[in-house]
Subunit: 236 residues, 2 copies
Amino acid sequence: MAEQTKAARRTPLTRDRVLRAAVVLADDIGIEALSMRKLAQELGVVPMALYKHVANKEQLLDGMVDVVVGEIEPPVAGADWKSAVRRRILSARRALVGHSWAAQVIRTRSGPTPAVLAYMDSVIGMFRTGGFSVDLTHHAMHALGSRMMGFTQELFDASPGPDPRTRPARPQEDAGEYPYVRELAGAVAHDEGSVVGQGCDDQFEFEFALDLLLDGFERLRRQGWSSAGRSGGRTT
Amino acid sequence: MAEQTKAARRTPLTRDRVLRAAVVLADDIGIEALSMRKLAQELGVVPMALYKHVANKEQLLDGMVDVVVGEIEPPVAGADWKSAVRRRILSARRALVGHSWAAQVIRTRSGPTPAVLAYMDSVIGMFRTGGFSVDLTHHAMHALGSRMMGFTQELFDASPGPDPRTRPARPQEDAGEYPYVRELAGAVAHDEGSVVGQGCDDQFEFEFALDLLLDGFERLRRQGWSSAGRSGGRTT
DNA sequence: GTTGACGAGTGTACGGCGTACACCTACCGT
DNA sequence: ACGGTAGGTGTACGCCGTACACTCGTCAAC
C-alpha cells in the first residue's frame, strides 16, 4: 500500500497538465498574480519541477495562448467569405472571453505561436478564396489587427477591477470638465460604469466595428482596390 | 564651497523631473526593464526618494502616460469633422510612435488619466459638433478603440526585439504549412521581416484602417443610423 | 537479480524587484 | 534661536524567476 499511496499521491506532471493548470489558475487569480511558484503549489510540486516541462515563464505563457487558441472552433465550409470570416472571428472571440487575461498575454508575445499562425492562415485563406487579392488581404489583416483574434482593443481594460485603490480619483463626478465625456457617459447610462467600456454591450460594440470593417473590405474588393493607388480608401 | 558642491551636486527632485526621466529611461532600455531602482540610479538618488513624488509604480506609469499625451498637438479649428478627427488622431500617433512602450502602458492602465480624458473629450466633441448623435458617437468611439490614441493594435508587438532567443523557432522557413501566410509574407517581401507587422508600412496600414472606419462612420451618419435598429451596420 | 543510465522532482541559493518604516537633516517662517 | 516640515536615506521584508547540484524511482541490458 506504500506503493499505492505513492502511485496515487500524484499523477505525473506533463507539459499539457502544467499549461492547463496555468490557464485555470490565471482565470482564477488573474494573470499578473500568476507566478511559477503559485502554479507549482497548485500542482502540489516544487517550483523548479515546472522547468522540466517548460523552458521558462515566457514559454509557459506561449503555451497558455495555444491552449486558448485551441478552443476556437474549426472553420465552417461553404459560405461566402464575409460570413465565414465573421463566424470564425466571433468564434475566436467566444474562446477568448472566458479567459480575460488572454488578450493581454497574446499582445505581449513577441511572435505568433504555431497555433496562432494556423488560425491566421485559415483567416487569410478565407479572404483569398473569397476573391481578395493578396494585396487587399494583407491590408485587411492589418486593419483587423487584434480584432481577428476576437478581442477589440478598448483603450482601457476595465476588467481586473479587484484593486481600485490608489487610482487617480474618480473622473466621473468631479468638476464640470469633460462635458462631452459626461454627455456620452450619461447617455449610456447603464449602471454607474466607467467612462467607456463599462455598462456597454461589448458584444454589440465588437460586431459593430467588425461589420464596419468587413463591409469596407467588401466595398474595396468590388471596386478592385489596390494599394498601388495609395488612396487609403478615402471616399471623401 | 562645501555648500556649493552640495547645492550644485543635484537639482532637487520633482514629480515632473521624475516622470520625464522615467520616459527617457523607458525609451532607452524598454518598459519591461524600467524599475524604480534603475530610475532612481539614473537620477542619482536612492530608490525610496522617488516615493516622495509618486505614490507607487502604478502612478509613475500613469504620469508617464500623461507626459506622452501632453505631446499631442492641440486640435485645429474650422474643419469638417472627418479631417479634424483624422488630423488629431494622426497627431496622437505621432506623439506615441517615439515612445514604443506607451501603447502597452496605456492599455494596462485600469482607467484614463485626466490628460487622456481631456483628449478623449476633444475627440468626442469633434463627432458631436460634426453632426453625430450621441449614440453613433458612442459606438464610433468604441470602434476606434485604441486607434483613437494613435496606435493600432497589431496582433504582436514585434517592436522590442532585442531578445530573440528562447522563442519557439522561426515559423518562416520551416515546413510547407501555412500556405496562405507564406504567400502573403512573400508578397510583402520587404526584407526578411516577421509574418505580419514587420517590413510593412505601418503608417499606411494605420491610415488605411482609420479611413475605412471614418468613411464607415460618415456613411452611417448620413443615413441617420441608430443603434435602436441593432443592425450592426451590416449592408449585406 | 544486479546494475547503471536516465529523467522527473527536489533543495538551496542568488540577484532583482516594489515598497514599508524609521531615520536624518537642511531649510524656513516665526 | 527654534521647531516643524519636506525631501532624501538606510535597512529590511517578502516576493519573483531561475541556475545548479542533488536524490530517487523506473526500467533496459546483462
